[in-house]
Assembly symmetry: C2
Homo-oligomer: 395 residues x 2
C-alpha cells in the first residue's frame, strides 16, 4: 500500500484515500463510483461546468488542465492523481511528479501514448505488429509515402484524435489538399498510416499495478459505427490460440509503455488471422464498460486498486457472455433519456445514464450492458433496451 490514512481530511469524510482525476466526464464518473464504494473520495479538475462526474466529487476545480498550477492545486488536495483522458500535456503533468506528487499513469507513460507517432514507434520497436506508419511534414511527403505504402492511406493528427476525429482517409492525390487543411497540417503535427483491410476489431483491457502485477480481461469484439464504438461483445468469438496471442500482445503493449492503471488496447484482426495493434488508451476505456456487471472486479475498480498500490481484483466473467451498447446523441438537444421508462422494463438490461445536460449528434450519453448464456441472448436484451431510449429527441 502506497499511502495510509488520509491526513488532509479537512472537508468531508474519508475512511480511505482521496483521489484526484483530471477530466470530469463519464469515465471519471465511473472511476468515482468505484472509488466511493471502497470508501475513497474524488476531486475533479475539469474545464467545463456540469460535467458528469462533478455530481459525485467532494470538490471540483475548474480550469485548463494543461496549466501546471491547476494540476498542482488538484494534487495538493489528494493522495494520488489519475486521468480520464490522454490529452493532458505530459510536460504539464511532469510538474506534479517533480513536486513529489503521485501520478499514475506517469507523465512518461502519458507522453509516450499521447503522441501517436511516438506510441507506434515504441510499440513497433518492441516487436509488436502495428500498421505501417510514417511522420509527414508536407503534402509532398504524403504522396511519396503513400506511393510506397499503397493507396488509400489514412492521414492522422499525432495528438488529440479520438472517435474518428483527427483522421481522414486519402484515396488518391486529389484528397490530400483538403485533408491537410482540415487537419491543419501547417500548424499541427500529422502522420500517415497504411489503410488496414481488417475483418474485425478486437480489444483487451489490461490493468497493471505499481508493483508490476498485471491482470487482463477477456478479448472482446468491438463494433464501430461512424468511427465511434457502437457495441462490445464479450468474450470475442475467436479460438483459444488467437485469444491467447491477442492477450499476450495487449499485456506486452502495457509493459512497453510501463503503464500503471487500466489500459484499453484496440486491435485489428486481418483476414489472415493476424493481430495488429491499432492504438492504446492510457486509461479506462469504452471497450471495458461491460466489466462493471460482467466481471468480478470492473476495469474501474481495478484502476483504483492499481493507482492506490492495492492488490488487483479478479477479471473473471460471472456470466458466459455480455454485450454493451453505447447510447449516442441523435441530434442537438437536452440530455434527457427519452423513453428510459420503456428501457427499464427490459429485464436484465443494466442502464447507465451519464448525466450530461445536453447532447449532440454522436455524443456518448450512456450505455447498456446485458449478460446472457451466450452472445445472442445478451445482444438481444441490450439491443431491445437501447432501441427504447433516445437522446436529443424532442419529447
Amino acid at each position: 500500500m502506497i499511502s495510509i490514512y488520509n491526513k488532509i481530511n479537512n472537508k468531508h469524510i474519508a475512511s480511505g484515500h482521496r483521489v484526484g482525476i483530471v477530466g470530469g466526464g463519464q469515465l471519471a464518473k465511473m472511476i468515482g463510483l468505484s472509488a466511493i464504494k471502497l470508501g475513497c473520495e474524488i476531486v475533479i479538475l475539469e474545464k467545463t461546468k456540469k460535467a458528469p462526474s462533478t455530481s459525485l466529487a467532494i470538490d471540483t476545480l475548474y480550469g485548463d488542465w494543461n496549466d501546471p498550477s491547476n494540476l498542482l492545486n488538484l494534487a495538493n488536495m489528494v493522495d494520488v492523481v489519475s486521468l480520464e483522458n490522454e490529452f493532458v500535456d505530459a510536460n504539464s503533468l511532469r510538474v506534479l511528479e517533480e513536486a513529489g506528487h503521485r501520478l499514475y499513469p506517469t507523465s512518461t507513460t502519458i507522453g509516450l501514448v499521447q503522441d501517436k507517432l511516438h506510441q507506434k514507434q515504441a510499440l513497433s520497436d518492441a516487436g509488436i505488429p502495428v500498421i505501417p506508419f510514417a511522420a509527414v511534414n508536407s503534402q509532398e511527403e504524403i504522396i511519396q509515402l503513400a506511393d510506397q505504402l499503397g493507396w488509400p492511406v489514412v492521414l492522422k493528427t499525432r495528438r488529440d484524435g479520438y472517435d474518428g476525429k483527427g483522421n481522414i482517409t486519402l484515396n488518391n492525390v486529389t484528397d490530400i489538399d483538403d485533408a491537410w487543411s482540415k487537419l491543419n497540417g501547417n500548424n499541427q503535427k500529422l502522420y500517415i498510416e497504411a489503410f488496414c483491410h481488417f475483418t474485425g476489431e478486437l480489444a483487451v483491457m489490461v490493468t497493471r499495478g505499481l508493483n508490476g502485477e498485471m491482470v487482463n480481461y477477456p478479448v472482446v469484439e468491438s463494433v464501430q459505427k461512424d468511427h465511434v464504438c457502437h457495441m462490445v461483445r464479450a468474450p470475442a468469438r475467436i479460438d483459444n490460440e488467437l485469444s491467447d496471442a491477442t492477450i499476450k500482445l495487449a499485456r506486452k503493449a502495457v509493459e512497453v509503455i510501463d503503464g500503471e492503471g487500466s489500459f484499453g488496447i484496440e486491435m485489428f484482426l486481418t483476414k489472415e488471422n493476424q493481430i495488429i495493434l491499432n492504438e492504446m488508451a492510457p486509461r479506462v476505456h469504452n471497450s471495458g464498460h461491460y466489466t462493471i456487471e460482467a466481471c468480478e472486479c470492473s476495469q474501474f475498480e481495478n484502476h483504483m486498486r492499481a493507482i492506490l498500490g492495492l492488490p488487483l481484483g479478479s477479471t473473471k466473467m460471472i456470466a458466459p457472455a455480455a454485450v454493451m451498447i453505447n447510447m449516442l446523441g441523435e441530434e442537438q438537444g437536452h440530455g434527457y433519456p427519452v423513453g428510459i421508462e420503456h428501457a427499464l422494463a427490459v429485464k436484465g438490461a443494466h442502464i447507465h445514464v451519464y448525466g450530461k445536460t445536453t447532447t449532440n449528434i454522436g455524443r456518448k450519453m450512456g450505455h447498456i450492458t446485458a449478460l446472457g448464456s451466450d452472445i445472442n441472448e445478451a445482444e438481444k436484451i441490450a439491443s431491445k433496451a437501447a432501441s427504447c431510449i433516445r437522446f436529443g429527441a424532442q419529447k
Copy 2:
C-alpha cells in the same frame, strides 16, 4: 413516469431526476450510487457532518429531520423525497405531502411502521402471524401480561429501536425495574412481546412501485450476533413450499402498509416450521445488501425505480449463492479499514467501505459480498476477506 425533466437544475448536471433522501448514512450512500448510475442526482438532509453519503450528494442540508421546515427545504430542491430510516416523525413528513411534494414511502406508511405497536397491530389484523404482543403502561401491567404470555418476555420501545437497541429480555419479575428505567418507561411508550424460541431468522426484500407492481428477492437466512446482523446467506436453505409461504407473507405485509419503495421484512422460523413476522423496515435493508452484486437489479436501484414511478428491475440472482458479511467497529477509533490490502487480495470478494471517519464497538463500517456455486463457497470467500479487515484497531 411520475415526473418529467428536472426543471430545478440550477446548480449541477441532471439528465434524470433529483432525489432527496432524509438521512445520510450508508443506506443513503448505496441508494445514491444507484441513482447516479441512472443519471439522477441526490440531495441529503442529515443531522451530523461527515456522513457517508454526503461525499456523493450534490448538496447536503444539515439539520434536525423532524423539523418540517428542514424537510420542506429539502423537498423544494428535488423531484421526490425518500428516507433511509424510519425514525423521522410521520407528522413532520405529512407536512411535505400537504404542501404537494412527493414522498415515498408516504407519511401514512412511515407512521404505521415507526410505532412498532401499530405495525404489529396492522399486520396481525391482516392475518399475518406475529409474536404475541401488548402495550404496557406500567410495571404492574408487565407482570400481569407476562404471566399470561409466559416468561421470559421482551420489553421494547415502541419507537426508534434498532440492532437490539431499545429492547431488553425479562426473565422474571426482578428484571422489570431495571429494564423499565433503562428504557425510560416513565417517559417513553413501551410494549412487550412473548419471547420467540426461533430456530432461524429469515428475511425477504420486497419492492413495490407506485402503481402497485411488486417484486421480491429470494428468501435469505439472516444470522445475528449481539442483536446486529452479522451475515446473510442467499438464498435460504429451505424447501420451496416454505420459501413460497415466506415470500407470500412478506409481500402481503408490504401491501398491508401500502408501501412504496424497497422494504425489508424480517421473520422468525420456529421449530415447527412456522413463519412469524418479526418486524419490517420501510426502507432498503441490511439483509438486501447482497443484491448489489448477486441480483440483476439491486434493492437500491429498485427503490429508486419505485419512487420515480419507473418499471421495477429483475430480482433474479445471477449466481447460485451469495453471502454478505457485515464489518463492524471493534473499538472506538478512526474509521480506516486496517488490513484492506489483504482483503482485496481475496479473489471474488466485493468490498464496500462506507467511509465513516470514526468507529465504535458494533458500528456498521462496511460489508463484503461474495458469490459462489453454493453457500459454502460464497461464505468461505466472504469470511476470508472479512477476517482481514479491522475497524477501530490501532495501526
